[in-house]
């Protein structure tokens, strides 16, 4: 287990930290929001991200990536989380690249991975159909039609859906909602006939879309992974994404904690620095413990992915749930300890809190993962 970063990983982290801190501070998200940017991300920033190799971090060198693996990706996502950096990194470099690498044919890999690494193709996973994450509940259908398939159904909470070039669509070729069997994945051109995409404006000012599929025709080679048996491939990619998301969340938790700690050291009330109040000190110390505990859980989950350990799903659920709980506590405390100004849009606490709640719902909240953790533990 790799609880200590290698020299290479440390360099990557420092590079990512410098980049996001300097080039993509929280102000960048504010600008996108206040200007009502239609893309929901900054194309110049994305270009820089690609140039730094972050888009291809999972992708092997033969396909134009840097092959840093999950640990590297987690390191970068954490730094992105520290500044709430909005970019297609999660949708494309984590979910997109992850799914294609896990389930794609050689042809699909060769066709898509280099474009992902080059930042030229944006991918979005169209998975959710209900208010709560649960892949088994997929009801959307893909019916055999000629050589190909006809896709019909509605997807929601499709991250980066309205900017994606290619959608990875999870649909049923068999079974019914609740079954693991019968799930398939399809690569669908976002501009295909019958695909209708509506951007949703979320509380975190980040991208999500509703996508409806009205008799969308795809050919047989659009199938990604095993027909009717995609659940395992999907789940393993989702675990990768869950851990990367936990990394992004922990990055946010760190910023909120650091900022709040600074505030405790400078804000005066009743003539004294509020950081001298013991009740606040103890709460700050407890938050510190939470952050530290989460670092361990995250590093373990990234190691599990890196080493393809059998307990990866459990480690992923532990990370998503434990970091999720900590982040909720820390963002709430961040606002409360800032007092009145914590409630204003002018300071960043609110932005982190809003983002935290969206992250909580992405790919399963604490309740989902606690239950899954117990399921996987055999009790």
């Amino acid at each position: 287990m790799a609880f200590v970063l290698t020299e290479e990983q440390t360099m990557l982290r420092d590079m990512a930290k410098d980049f996001f801190t300097e080039q993509v501070p929280v102000a960048n998200l504010r600008k996108l929001r206040d200007e009502e940017n239609a893309d929901g991300y900054d194309k110049d920033v994305w270009k820089q991200i690609v140039e730094l190799g972050f888009a291809g971090i999972l992708i092997p060198e033969e396909h134009g990536g840097t092959g840093f693996g999950p640990m590297g990706l987690g390191i970068v996502m954490k730094e992105a989380g520290r500044t709430l950096a909005a970019s297609p990194l999660y949708s494309t470099a984590v979910l997109g690249a992850g799914l294609i690498m896990a389930a794609g044919s050689d042809e699909q890999k060769a066709a898509l991975l280099p474009n992902i690494a080059a930042g030229e193709t944006l991918i979005a996973l169209a998975l959710e159909e209900t208010n709560h994450h649960n892949p088994l509940n997929t009801a959307m259908t893909a019916e055999k039609s000629g050589d190909g398939f006809t896709l019909t159904g509605d997807k929601k909470f499709v991250i980066d859906g309205h900017i994606a070039d290619t959608l990875i669509v999870v649909a049923r070729t068999g079974g019914a909602a609740g079954d693991a069997q019968g799930l398939s994945m399809f690569l669908v051109d976002a501009k295909a006939d019958g695909v209708s995409i509506t951007r949703n404006h979320m509380v975190d000012s980040r991208n999500a879309a509703s996508v409806s599929f009205g008799n969308v025709q795809v050919s047989a080679d659009a199938v990604l992974g095993s027909l009717g048996g995609a659940y395992a491939e999907l789940e393993s990619s989702l675990d990768l994404a869950r851990v990367c998301l936990a990394a992004e969340m922990l990055g946010g938790a760190e910023t909120v904690f650091d900022t709040t700690l600074d505030y405790l050291k400078e804000r005066k009330q009743f003539g004294v620095i509020i950081g001298t109040f013991q009740a606040l000190k103890h709460r700050a110390a407890e938050l510190f413990c939470e952050v530290e505990i989460c670092q361990s859980v995250l590093l373990d989950a990234l190691s599990a992915l890196e080493e393809r350990r059998n307990d990866t799903p459990r480690a992923a659920s532990l990370a998503k749930a434990r970091v999720g709980d900590a982040l909720r506590l820390i963002t709430n405390e961040g606002v409360q300890m800032h007092g009145g100004i914590g409630m204003t849009d002018a300071v960043d606490m609110g932005l982190f809190m809003k983002r935290a709640r969206v992250q909580a719902q992405m790919l399963g909240d604490t309740n989902f993962h606690r239950t899954r953790y117990a399921d996987l533990g055999g009790y």
Binding site: Q269, N332, Q336
Partner: protein
């Protein structure tokens, strides 16, 4: 027939005639009758209703008639409220002047001041806001720095207020100002300031919920006539404390049951999102969380009722206001967190397509709820108060 009975009969008849039909329907937020010089009335009946009620002094039913109030006894007021309730009448006037300033003026102001200001409040002519908090003094209200210098016939006021509710839409502000810098609590005075005066500027503060119900209010070389001082010089803290108690109990009751109620209740939301197994919420973890929260909520509700009963019986729970403020706002915050958990992505919309009005309102209310444990004295301040005043724990 008792006098009270005939009062009821007369009141009923008067209301029948003077309360417009549209004023007997649920009130949308934009039709709130705040009054004031800058008021607009999307529904003209709002103004008619306000004027009708004001003409009898019934916007302030128990205030003395000599100042334009209704002059009603406690019993008569009860009858009036019952009759208003019977026809589901909207409030004729909602105003910080009525709720906060007026009672303070009645207790502390001079005869001239009462004559001048109470009538304006009762008639909804002047909309008031409160200028207490300052950027440097949040929980430490008495640490305020806004200075009022004695310039002979007027005070010269300089400073900055924050968290002034709707200051940009108000006409006058009641302010705490420092008139003696050598002492803390005993150097504070209570001043009334016309916001049309030169040097007063209100800038809305944008909150995380997207709304701007508060302003920063800048006071730069504002000349305030000396007759605008309420009570004695340097004795403003006494007035402030009285007003604060009132504010705390207002906030602790805020939002109880709201949010989930608009969605049909916590259980319904849970079943809608996670399905039902017979009668039961199908997802066990969610079911537990809902039950736990409903227990807390019921327990708090019962405690409010107990406090009422004890107050009636002349018993006091002691620093009850601080306890309610602390516990009530914390329960309220937990309610919204749970509601977000239940509603999943549907509680995460900001605007536009994909979310209905009620869902969007939950998101905003969740964000708003975070302020409950900050405004009107933070949770930390309430715990300090309980520790000191109720538990008698010593200061360091």
């Amino acid at each position: 027939m008792t006098a009270l009975d005939s009062f009821r009969e007369e009141t009923r008849a008067w209301l029948e005639e003077n309360c417009p039909a549209s004023m007997r329907t649920p009130m949308p937020e934009r039709e709130m009758p705040w009054g004031g010089r800058k008021a607009s009335y999307p529904n003209p009946d709002t103004k008619t209703w306000m004027d009708n009620m004001a003409s009898r002094g019934w916007t302030a039913p128990t205030w003395p008639a000599e100042y334009g109030g209704g002059g009603l006894s406690k019993e008569e007021n009860k009858v009036l409220q019952e009759e208003l309730g019977r026809i589901k009448a909207r409030p004729a006037l909602t105003s910080f002047g009525l709720w906060m300033l007026g009672p303070a003026l009645l207790e502390f102001a001079s005869e001239e001041q009462k004559k001048k200001y109470l009538g304006e409040i009762i008639r909804g002519e002047i909309r008031w806001c409160q200028g207490y908090s300052e950027p440097g003094a949040g929980s430490d209200l008495a640490g305020l720095q806004t200075k009022a210098e004695d310039k002979g016939d007027h005070y010269l006021v300089n400073g900055q207020k924050v968290w002034t509710s709707y200051a940009d839409q108000c006409d006058w502000i009641f302010c705490l100002v420092r008139t003696d810098t050598s002492v803390k609590h005993d150097g504070i005075s209570f001043l009334l300031i016309d916001m049309d005066d030169a040097g007063v500027e209100a800038r809305p503060i944008k909150l995380i919920s997207g709304a701007s119900p508060f302003c920063e209010t800048f006071l730069t070389d504002v000349k305030v006539p000396k007759e605008n001082l309420v009570g004695e010089l340097n004795k403003g803290w006494t007035i402030a404390k009285r007003l604060l108690e009132h504010e705390r109990s207002m906030i602790s009751g805020m939002g109880m049951g709201a949010g989930a109620a608009s969605m049909g209740g916590m259980e319904a939301v849970a079943k809608e999102n996670f399905g039902a197994d017979g009668d039961k919420i199908a997802e066990p973890g969610i079911r537990q969380a809902v039950a736990e929260h409903k227990m807390d909520q019921q327990a708090f509700g019962l405690t409010l009722k107990r406090a009422e009963a004890e107050a009636k019986a002349g018993q006091g729970m002691g620093a009850a206001a601080s306890m309610f403020k602390y516990y009530g706002t914390e329960v309220n915050k937990r309610r919204f967190e749970l509601l977000l958990d239940l509603m999943g992505t549907q509680a995460l919309g900001w605007e536009g397509e994909g979310f209905d009005k009620r869902e969007l309102a939950v998101t905003r209310s969740w964000l708003r709820s975070k302020g409950n444990s900050i405004e009107g004295g933070t949770s930390e301040v309430q715990l300090n108060v309980i520790a000191k005043r109720v538990l008698g724990l010593p200061d360091a």
